[in-house]
């Protein structure tokens, strides 16, 4: 039925296109003139942006999903960022100046993310943009930052092609502080082979998700290089509910570990149905497992022998993690999640770059960010590599009766 309404919409669009062709030449001419006027106005804006550096505050823009369908990610991240920046301001600010945060909502829409970036850069004259949360929205904002030469840092866009363009060239002004999808695949392959001692892996991929395919490809390559074999590969689509047929195929291949790199909604059902079929081998996955929903879907007893990589664990007993958790609890009166921790680290990552740059200009900050080595945060120690991706530790969690339990932190 959705298909039918789509068809209807398509028909309307076609109709509109027809009208477009009929647009008079005079109309085109006036449109062009308006565009020229607007362009000259924008250039005018760009020209005086240099004067912003003499102000007594350092302006940083937050471009986050504060409403819309991934609002929880955006809200958590911006809470974390603001907490960090407030701490820095309370300790005397950066380079003797206070940080001024300009927070805007991109409504979980990539076109809006671009609009907001434009506004933050041209009107508010920020020196750096932090955000957005998802890879898609970050990609929407990338061209604006690149054109205006203002650095953009995302703490959670895990797609591999955020900091690198389609030709494999690094995007000079774009950074991220979370590990990439490919990195999770490699980590889990090593974990399966070296820590669990598995040699026969089966893979069940969500073939409509770049995230899932990214992890799968890197896992397969690394696992085979280590000496393991992939005995079965099956695929599913998002929103499916019956996985018994593919799981029966996997069971026939007799693997000693299964990789299911998906999101919790399907993964919960897959693990439940696998256990019902008597497939009790370890299940591996990525940060898509990080949701309390997975326990509701699979049931606590099915969620044993499940391992996944994540950015952060509240069960981590490292000193700085405990301190962060307590400070967060005091401020927000709730337990800090992975996105809070990523946002908090992003705030300090920015401050660290400004301190080392010695001058709060976009150009200097960009250079300093690219040279980051051994920055210590809550989600691990990170160095920025030549592709503007972080080299950082991964936390591996084990589900014990559905409870995420901190297993180990793997250093890069």
């Amino acid at each position: 039925m959705n298909g039918l309404s789509d068809l209807y919409r398509l028909l309307i669009i076609k109709k509109k296109k027809g009208e477009c062709i009929l647009m008079k030449k005079t109309k085109m001419l006036s449109l062009m003139m308006v565009m020229i006027v607007m362009a000259s106005f924008l250039i005018g804006c760009g020209a005086d942006s240099g004067s912003g550096n003499d102000s007594d505050t350092i302006k940083v823009g937050l471009n986050y999903e504060l409403s819309g369908n991934v609002a929880t990610y955006g809200t958590d991240l911006s809470d974390g960022v603001e907490m960090a920046l407030e701490e820095i301001n309370a300790n005397g600010g950066l380079l003797g100046k206070q940080i001024e945060v300009i927070k805007m909502d991109n409504t979980s829409d990539s076109a809006e993310a671009a609009n907001i970036s434009t506004r933050l850069i041209t009107r508010e004259k920020v020196v750096t943009i932090l955000g957005p949360a998802t890879s898609g929205n970050t990609k929407g904002a990338i061209p604006i930052s690149t054109q205006n030469k203002v650095p953009l840092v995302s703490a959670s866009a895990t797609a591999d092609d955020v900091t690198v363009d389609s030709n494999g060239n690094v995007r000079e002004y774009i950074f991220k502080t979370c590990f990439s999808d490919s990195y999770q695949g490699i980590t889990m392959a090593n974990f399966a082979y070296n820590d669990l001692g598995n040699t026969k892996a089966a893979i069940l991929t969500e073939n409509t998700s770049d995230y899932s395919i990214g992890i799968t490809n890197n896992f397969r390559e690394e696992f085979t290089n280590l000496g393991g074999t992939v005995v079965a590969e099956e695929a599913y689509q998002s929103k499916e509910t019956d996985f018994k047929a593919v799981l029966t195929n996997i069971r026939a291949a007799n693997p000693d570990v299964i990789l299911v790199p998906g999101y919790y909604e399907e993964v919960g059902l897959i693990i439940k149905q696998a256990r019902e079929l008597g497939l009790n081998v370890p299940v591996l996955g990525g940060d898509g497992y990080d949701s309390p929903k997975i326990v509701e879907l699979a049931g606590a007893e099915a969620l044993n022998n499940v391992y996944y990589s994540n950015h952060y664990s509240p069960m981590d007993t490292a000193e700085d993690v405990v301190a962060f958790r307590e400070a967060f609890q005091g401020k927000f009166n709730k337990e800090a999640g992975a996105f809070h921790a990523l946002g908090y680290d992003l705030g300090y990552f920015f401050a660290d770059a400004v301190e080392r740059a010695g001058e709060a200009t976009p150009e200097k900050i960009k250079d300093a960010m690219a040279e980051t080595i051994d920055f210590t945060g809550i989600t691990g120690t990170l160095s920025i590599d030549e592709l503007h991706n972080p080299v950082k530790s991964v936390t591996i969690l084990e589900l014990v009766d559905g409870e995420p339990t901190f297993l180990k932190k793997l250093e890069p």
Binding site: E234, T241, K244, A245, L277
Partner: protein
């Protein structure tokens, strides 16, 4: 061998769900020649009713199943009175479009009230498996529940249609609406009964699927609704045993396709079968033009 048994078990349990939804589809079509696209969404509403009953009132499986069936049958009757009755004498395409609107209304109305997120059923059925013939092939207790409920409801339906007065009225209306009205059959009442029974079956399917897969959301009715429609057409739309056959046939076909490594193409295969059936036997495998349809 155990592979084949296991895949057959998987196919039959999937097929019994399609069959249950297809029963209601085929009934409504048989009586008033309307493809009730909202049927899949009544199934969704049934799943939510079951969810609220078991989660917030913590009542058992069978009371929840029956209550959900009753509420769904009321919903079906209301939908018929409000949306379909005024369209009864207009063109079939107008009625079809109304059905699509009702479907979208139910989906997004539900989304407005309960939110778009997935909900999970509590564990209300025993969670255990039985090994078949001493092999590795297992069957879940829930599968057996679904299968038994489907068969019981189908037998009940056959009884209602062929052994009761209401059933006789339904068959008469299906055969010739005007003539049966002249014979003193209350058409409004008969159509209401049809919707009530059809929607009750959808509600039962909703609760069964909710407990079996443990996940429900406001758009869950769309795809099973279409699959059930295919099942009904394969068996000959309007013909009740045909719908059951179609459901099992489709379930087993999809599982077989997955078993041979084509898990991503199983929907394509399902629709391809629909096209072939429509080309070769437009009235379905069991349907025929002369047959009395209910």
């Amino acid at each position: 061998m155990e592979q084949i048994i296991q895949q057959m078990v998987n196919g039959v349990s999937l097929g019994s769900i399609y069959a249950l939804i297809a029963l209601g589809y085929t009934m409504v079509y048989g009586i008033i020649k309307l493809i009730n696209f909202a049927h899949g969404d009544i199934y969704m509403v049934g799943a939510y009713i079951g969810f609220f009953l078991t989660t917030y009132l913590s009542i058992g499986f069978f009371p929840a199943l029956i209550l959900s069936m009753i509420i769904c049958s009321l919903l079906g009757v209301i939908i018929e009175k409000v949306a379909y009755k005024p369209m009864r004498n207009s063109t079939r395409i107008a009625a079809l479009i109304t059905a699509i609107s009702v479907s979208l209304f139910l989906q997004y109305g539900m989304m407005y009230f309960v939110g778009p997120e997935t909900r999970t059923y509590p564990n209300i059925l025993p969670n255990s498996q039985i090994k078949l013939f001493g092999t590795e092939a297992v069957i879940d207790i829930k599968n057996i529940y679904i299968l038994v409920v489907t068969i019981v409801l189908m037998v009940l339906l056959q009884y209602v249609i062929y052994r009761t007065k209401t059933g006789k009225a339904m068959r008469a209306v299906a055969l010739d609406r005007d003539a049966s009205e002249l014979m003193g059959i209350d058409m409004n009442k008969t159509i209401s009964y049809t919707f009530a029974i059809g929607s009750a079956l959808a509600g039962a399917a909703g609760v069964l699927v909710g407990t079996y897969y443990n996940t429900i959301n406001p758009l869950m009715g769309a795809v099973p609704g279409l699959k059930a429609f295919i099942a009904a057409v394969i068996g000959g739309i309007g013909y009740i045993p045909g719908a059951v056959f179609g459901g099992f046939f489709l379930g087993i076909t999809e599982t077989t396709v997955s078993a041979f490594g084509g898990s991503l193409y199983k929907d394509a295969v399902a629709f391809a079968i629909l096209i072939v059936v429509l080309l070769v036997r437009p009235n379905g495998i069991f349907g025929s033009n002369t047959k009395e349809k209910v």
